[in-house]
């Protein structure tokens, strides 16, 4: 008898430094597992079409769209979500920069935007404006916070090149 997709096999998932055992079908998206299974609601599912980046998380240290990664593809790689950025007493420097530069409006794209910038930085090191814009071009913000997002991201790159205001 073929296996029903509803059969749930326990699976280990490394998320934010902890190993969780989750019972989920292999064809469940990582976004669904993180949000509905583990209650990590920071990442958002805005398009479910890999077209907006609101669900961006880190897989090992690279940014991925969690709506287009299946739970079964994660293996023993570690997942990092926005919830892991701040410690109890301090925001991550990029979070602080977002607050200071008002790099958000409604805030729905923000968790994905932060993870996309951190993933790009992990992959490429310090970036200038042009490199940054290319690296995170797949993340959309309908409120149009882009200019302040660029200011915030560049301010923590340690480089120059803040956009003219």
């Amino acid at each position: 008898m073929s296996k029903s997709p509803w059969q749930r096999e326990p699976r280990a998932l490394r998320v934010n430094g902890r190993v969780h055992t989750v019972g989920i079908p292999d064809d469940t998206t990582l976004a669904t597992v993180l949000r509905d299974g583990l209650g990590l609601k920071g990442l958002k599912v805005a398009c479910n079409q890999a077209a907006c980046g609101a669900c961006t998380v880190l897989l090992d240290d690279r940014a991925v769209f969690a709506c287009h990664v299946l739970a079964g593809q994660v293996g023993n790689r570690s997942v990092t979500t926005v919830e892991a950025l701040a410690t109890d007493d301090a925001l991550h420097p990029l979070q602080t920069a977002f607050v200071d530069h008002d790099a958000l409006q409604c805030g729905f794209c923000t968790p994905g935007m932060l993870m996309a910038i951190i993933g790009a930085r992990n992959a490429q090191g310090t970036m200038d404006r042009e490199q940054l814009v290319r690296a995170i071009g797949g993340n959309l913000c309908r409120c149009g916070a882009y200019p302040h997002i660029i200011d915030a991201a560049l301010s923590v790159m340690g480089g120059t090149g803040n956009t003219e205001r």
Partner: protein, 752 residues
Amino acid sequence: MTHLDPWPSDRALRVVGHRAVRASAAAKVTGRARFASDIAPAGMLHAVLVRAEVPRGRVLRFDASRAMMVPGVVLIVDPFDFPAAPGTAYKSGPAFRTRPVIDAEVRFVGEEIGAVVAHTEAAARDAARRVHVDYATEPAVLTLQDALAPDAPRLGADGNIVGGVDILACGDLDAGIAAAEVTVEAHYTTDAQHHNALEPHGCVAAWEDGALTVWDSNQGCHAIRERLAVVFGLPDERVRVVSDYVGGGFGSKIHLKPYHVIAAQLARTLDRPVRLFMDRREEFIASHQRAPTRRRIRLGATRAGHLTFIDQTVEGQAGPSDLFARNAAGAANGLRLHGCAHLRAAVRRVLTNTPPPIPFRGPTAAEDIFCLEQAVDELVHALAMDPLAFRRRNIATIEPFARLPYAGNGLQACYERGAASFGWQWQPPRPLGGRDVVRGVGMGAVAYDGTLYEESRAEIAVHTSGRIEVRVGLTEIGCGADTIFAQIAAEELDVPLRLIDTHFGDTRSTPRSIDSTNHSRTTTVVGPAVRAAAQALRRLLLEQGARLLQAETDQVVQCGAAIVQRDNSGVAITFGEIAATAGGVLTASGERERPPDGVFQAMFGAHFVEVEVDTGTGRVRVLRAVCAHDAGRVVNPLLAESQVHGGFLQGMGMALLEERLMDPTSGHLLNATMWAYRTPGFADLPSSIRFVDGSVPDRSNSLGVKGLGEPPLIAAGAAIANAIFNAIGVRVRDYPITPDKVLAALAGGRGL
């Protein structure tokens, strides 16, 4: 009601006017902010709507037998057995209007004809796809052209024009035409624009003991609550709407929509919490949009550059009924933008089998001014004048329809400060050589009617902890109300901003401050109520403080968050201690003051843009923009920049990118995805979008404020289009100005 003297406009205030960081920013960057789509009460079920696949007709048969076999399905309702709410109807729009939320009549592709409830959203979506529906179809009209054809199917009892021709006029048009020495006339169109807020429409509904709670992604928690109460025949206090954080609205989330009623009704039927959210395709096809419009504009001026008349005919798509027709088209804001004595517009709102238009940031005004300001530029070109010089010559002194002076008109200030910041140096377009990348500059202005008065209430409470809580009954959609009301309260209370929290977005714990966050009016309407509440609280703290210090009120004075004796004895009592003696919390409320008589409130702005056009590919890039706006008084320049960036970019999207592709026979939207419907992204950004404060004091309220939410979108389009003309010497009069249209215009070579 207390009287509040206006804040001084000639010197800086202590908190208002400063770049305070956004109050909700920390919650948003940490992922702690809870949006309605994050809410999951225990036992929650998931609903998905079944949507019509034809543009016009009736559902004959709704076969759910295959859908019922999907594991996890709990309930499927069809258009013949939808469990009716007590009224089977809901209220929406400006008047009390009713229509069923799910029924068998189909008026556009995507209309709600059924619902599936399952244990997971994936199962509900799977089942909804397996519902087989047979329709009796009828001929549909999908475009303005279709609808106005002589043999068009009639969608309304009186044909396809809703409520006849709407005439806006003042002066004597014939006299204006006779006085004109130069006249131009052209046709323009604007396309549908989809809001595409990142958080889709949707809610979680739950009943307990006959009371309804809805966690909803809306723009007005109090409006949604009141309308749900009407639908379900409940007193307002039996309905609670919670909208702590909302992932964007832009006008789309003002109204009660079918999903609200369906989710609440399904939750009641099943006695379980029900979650009902749109997916991205539904967001495009059935969450409504800005109306497509077309217009003919004729206008004239003297050789010296004085406008003598503007005459327009305007048509906009009203969707299948008159319910949202007023969002289909308008012309008043364009006509009041420049000083001109003789004005006329004939507006037709036309029925079509397309989703109804709902407000989108500057509804009807953006479509209007995108076109009118291009027509003005065409006239200026015919006069061989500098567009800035022409506009300076035509500043309005009164509002033409109400015939009242403006409570503040900063248009001239926007022209001067914006032009100076941009380094405006205009030259007429030059002839093109072969393929080239050419640059041009353009400008466009905006006038937008404000809100002189609306009832509003706000509360401010001091707690034993010393924290001060501003309570405003509104939904914060990212505009910054969370921050600026704290600034207003801190200013009036004379305490540090860091002591203040703003509470909003929950009808149970806030007074009704506004029905919904729209029409750039939240600051204008609610701000003075917050200031009045702060003044009342301050008086209360002085009275209570004096009593507790066993002194007369004139013997004490406020010092920071404490009341101290004037005699320098050091005897003092903190606000927190005063609250402790009042049972832990001391609350005051304030109401919005009445406005002065005999003034008209409007927002103004002027944009200056430089573009680059590749004449080989037709691609347009906006290189830089200066956006000068008159907001009366800018409460927070940092957040104002954010508003202006967002407004300009959405206007740029409407001007260059955002295009609805609808199949002309089936009525299906062909680009209902976020990659095929292009909204501006990082790659489209100008190198700078600079906000310039062109505010002049506005005397219509005690804060001297007016709005800033919508004008930056409205002014963007024509400034970009005019810069394109300045670069290539030919006009593209159909928005969005996509590369194919630029190439076609270049090939036609008309215009110069």
